[in-house]
Symmetry: C2
């Protein structure tokens, strides 16, 4: 098991989840968060027209949860599912057994998550399609061949056709 595993997930048993299993549903309430030991999780928003908007991917060593629900007590706005057979460790946010080491670690991780989301918002507001794809490659270097073009496009807020064009251009330019 990875040595990066955060304190609050240590000494907990991991569980195996099959590809395509949905583990969190929008509309429910949950303060569960998932640390990915192996495999790949995804969180997404389903709009009124049934269109999927990928909120984030969570490959190895990432943590995923519906933080809006956790922090604000709202219903989940995200679904979470498994894109590959996965091994995950489940924890509860807002557990009471906080000590200074766990708090410092949480703080650091939350600060990084805010930083990543800041980049993501700027990306969605102002980046060209190509800059968006470069952002994806930087954020998820292990994923380009593990997730479909359609899913990447959905994460970037562009069409699969635009993504396909950029990928071709990048192959020719390299």
């Amino acid at each position: 098991m990875s040595s990066n595993i955060p304190c609050r997930f240590k000494n907990k048993k991991s569980v195996l989840i099959k590809k395509r299993t949905i583990i969190e549903y929008a509309g429910n309430r949950s303060n569960r968060i998932y640390y990915v030991v192996k495999g790949l999780l995804r969180s997404y928003h389903l709009d009124d027209k049934g269109k999927i908007h990928t909120f984030m991917f969570a490959p190895e060593d990432w943590i995923v949860g519906d933080v809006e629900s956790i922090a604000m007590g709202n219903q989940n706005s995200l679904y979470i599912d498994c894109l590959e057979d996965s091994e995950v460790i489940v924890s509860q946010e807002f557990q009471q057994d906080n000590n200074i080491t766990i708090l410092e670690e949480k703080n650091k991780k939350l600060l990084r998550r805010v930083g990543t989301l800041q980049q993501r918002v700027i990306m969605l507001m102002s980046y060209t399609a190509r800059e968006r794809y470069e952002f994806f490659l930087k954020t998820y270097p292990t994923l380009p061949n593990r997730v479909s073009q359609k899913m990447i496009a959905s994460y970037l807020g562009i069409t699969p056709e635009a993504l396909s064009k950029i990928r071709r251009e990048m192959v020719f330019a390299s």
Copy 2:
């Protein structure tokens, strides 16, 4: 002074900053964060074409900083300026004098910020113009008459004309 003031800003002197002053520049490095006692700050991204994209507003009791820079050691990608004459308290992120109370408080605030940014990303990906404006009203109930239509539109990622249309419709519907 507000009783909500977070621990790490307590016992620090506030400073007065004039309207239109730019207090942080993209390209610099800074781990400063600002707690707004009175007034209104804004952070924004300036794209290659010189277009302003409002990242967030910070009215009374909000904290604003360039968290990408703080968490990742990157250069600032945001500018921060004052939209009104403001009274703020400046602190440094990553200061060493952490104790459990400060850490717990930071944690709670960071978690809420992640929740808000999650909503913001979902908004930018999937909301209609009207839903975006409703999101703005919920997030910033005191701001509709304090910031220009252009700035609100820039925060929502829609055109000022689309915003104007929605506002008219909402007046007629009420």
